[in-house]
């Protein structure tokens, strides 16, 4: 079983469109994981039927019990995240959004007035779709611990793939190079970087490429909308080769991509024409099929 992570560095380069097409092209031999947990979109194409829904509890949040608080202000002095505020009536309150759940205020309050309880950060789901199993999640509004939720979704997808003897786990990753990306990439079998030929796309490709190298994950790159700027497309492929990353194809600019999305279909499902063939070729290289 091979775990394939689709990432991009820069957002909006086409990760989810490529992931949905791969899910289609795998012909039931893959479990799909949407690891872009704070802006998940794959469900819009895969139209999952939820089989099980689970609460994601991770980390803790502090809150002050006003009955016990003697307003000494010690907690505010210790908090490094400016999460504790003195109100006009001299009582103290904790801003749940600034609180990072470290527990310092709760541990050191001389009056035991700070409660420290488990935080519900979102939900995650096992679903069935026309392409097979999908594991996905929804991070709570303004919630933390997206990296841990990514790890959970990824592990659950892997478990399902083992049970079903699937050939692949296809992981739709998040943009950036930080915590959720590191969580989706660490120890994966291979990564496909979806790049776009713009000055931003080139810059961001180089940073995500360096991250795959640092994590020792075998990486491929494909260039989406390559014909928007052929010069930069060439630069991305040259840059890839110099970093030991394998260029594995290009995808032409085609409005069919947006049309497919509006019809809630994978591109390869929507059309057999050019853009669909481009993606099929990339899948052949990545999947080895």
């Amino acid at each position: 079983m091979k775990e394939i992570v689709i990432i991009s560095g820069k957002g909006g380069t086409g990760k989810t469109s490529v992931s949905a097409s791969f899910a289609h092209l795998a012909q039931g031999k893959a479990v799909v994981a949407d690891c872009d947990v704070d802006a998940a979109d794959l469900h819009l194409i895969l139209q999952p039927e939820i089989i099980s829904s689970n609460t994601f509890t991770s980390g803790k949040k502090a809150s002050i019990n006003p009955d016990r608080c003697k307003s000494c202000g010690y907690c505010m002095m210790l908090c490094r995240f400016n999460a504790i505020r003195k109100t006009q009536d001299s009582s103290f309150v904790i801003d749940p959004i600034r609180c990072e759940g470290c527990g310092v205020c709760s541990h050191f309050c001389p009056y035991g007035a700070v409660e420290f309880s488990d935080e519900i950060c979102g939900d995650w789901f096992h679903s069935s779709t026309r392409f097979g199993t999908l594991v996905h999640a929804k991070l709570g509004i303004a919630a933390e611990n997206s990296g841990k939720l990514v790890t959970l979704v990824r592990n659950e997808a892997k478990k399902a793939a083992q049970e079903q003897h699937s050939d692949f786990v296809i992981i739709d990753g998040s943009p950036g190079i930080g915590c959720p990306v590191i969580a989706s990439l660490t120890a994966a079998d291979c990564a496909l970087i979806v790049a776009e030929p713009t000055v931003s796309g080139l810059h961001d490709f180089e940073r995500i490429a360096d991250l795959t190298r640092r994590l020792s994950v075998q990486a491929f790159v494909c260039i989406n909308k390559f014909d928007i700027n052929q010069t930069i497309s060439n630069k991305i492929e040259d840059g890839a080769l110099s970093k030991g990353i394998t260029p594995c194809g290009v995808i032409r600019y085609d409005r069919a991509v947006t049309d497919a999305q509006r019809k809630r279909m994978a591109i390869t499902e929507y059309t057999n024409n050019g853009v669909s063939q481009d993606i099929s070729l990339i899948w052949s290289t990545i999947s080895g099929k």
């Binding site: 957002g11 541990h107 991070l139 933390e144 930080g178 000055v199």
Partner: protein
């Protein structure tokens, strides 16, 4: 026209979904405000993938490391009692036999381990997670942060970027994508958030999440519909349904995509786009100033 107040006006550009045009909107608004003789500062808080410098080509005049405190254990004093390990909520400390190991990249720098250690075996040392650069692009002040490759946590760097001093009366804050910790660090002290979307199912789904986020933070906001096609009303309809004010649109035009791909500032390259950004600015300012 906007009358500068004593304090500064902070306008964040955010989106939920990546690649909808945050940086395009931010650099063009900053440039147009500068053209209108405003004292403007462009601040790139997308420290994982900062792109604003590619368009504004700033002359960088200063650079400071962004440091977070991480524990350092004095093995001659540590008795491996495990109090720090039990305390740490982030599992940044692990006991292995008779020693305690520190995993820096998991540390949030709360200082709790130093406080709970009865042996006084833990001190804090500064670790660099990235850097903040300051400079100018013409009359625009420019600040951005760059996270080191391999670092997981961007919020402390984002806070350093935002606390850098500037003389501007309007700050344009280019935010990271998503709806979790990094975006919240970037937008939470803003006066107004401009949410940039595109009228596709993905764009609008993530716009919905971003609207939920700014509402949770109680920050006033409005929406810019990028890659707008007048034939497709999905964007406007979505905003109406969510009671979200539309600040303006930017047309779906290949000339814009090509100018962007080459790192051009649109208002300086394509005459036809200027009125779109002008309208967006006027709408933002009328919403921020009473």
């Amino acid at each position: 026209m906007y009358q500068p107040k004593a304090e500064c006006m902070n306008i964040a550009i955010a989106s939920g979904k990546g690649g909808t045009g945050k940086t395009t909107v931010a650099v063009n608004i900053a440039s147009l405000l500068s053209e209108r003789k405003e004292k403007v500062c462009y601040i790139d808080c997308d420290v994982e993938e900062p792109n604003g410098h590619l368009f504004l080509s700033p002359v960088i005049t200063s650079r400071t490391e962004s440091l977070i405190p991480v524990p350092c254990i004095d093995e001659s004093k540590c008795i491996a009692c495990g109090a720090c390990v039990a305390f740490c909520q982030y599992r940044a400390l692990v006991r292995l036999g008779k020693t305690v190991m520190v995993f820096d990249e998991l540390c949030h720098g709360c200082g709790g381990c130093t406080l709970v250690c009865k042996q006084k075996a833990i001190s804090e040392q500064a670790k660099s997670i990235g850097f903040v650069e300051y400079g100018t692009s013409g009359r625009i002040e420019f600040i951005h942060g760059r996270l080191n490759i391999g670092e997981a946590m961007s919020p402390p760097l984002i806070r350093d970027v935002l606390s850098h001093s500037s003389n501007a009366t309007i700050k344009i804050i280019d935010s990271p994508p998503g709806t979790s910790c990094p975006v919240i660090a970037a937008v939470r002290d803003c006066d107004f958030v401009v949410l940039v979307t595109e009228p596709t199912p993905f764009g609008l789904n993530d716009l919905g999440l971003a609207i939920d986020m700014v509402k949770e933070l109680s920050i006033p906001f409005g929406v810019v519909i990028n890659r707008d096609d007048p034939q497709i009303k999905d964007g406007v309809n979505f905003c109406t349904a969510r009671n979200a004010p539309v600040l303006g649109t930017i047309p779906d035009d290949r000339r814009i995509a090509e100018a962007y791909s080459n790192g051009r500032i649109l208002i300086e390259t394509l005459d036809f786009v200027k009125p779109y950004f002008s309208g967006i600015i006027d709408n933002v300012i009328s919403k921020v100033t009473p």
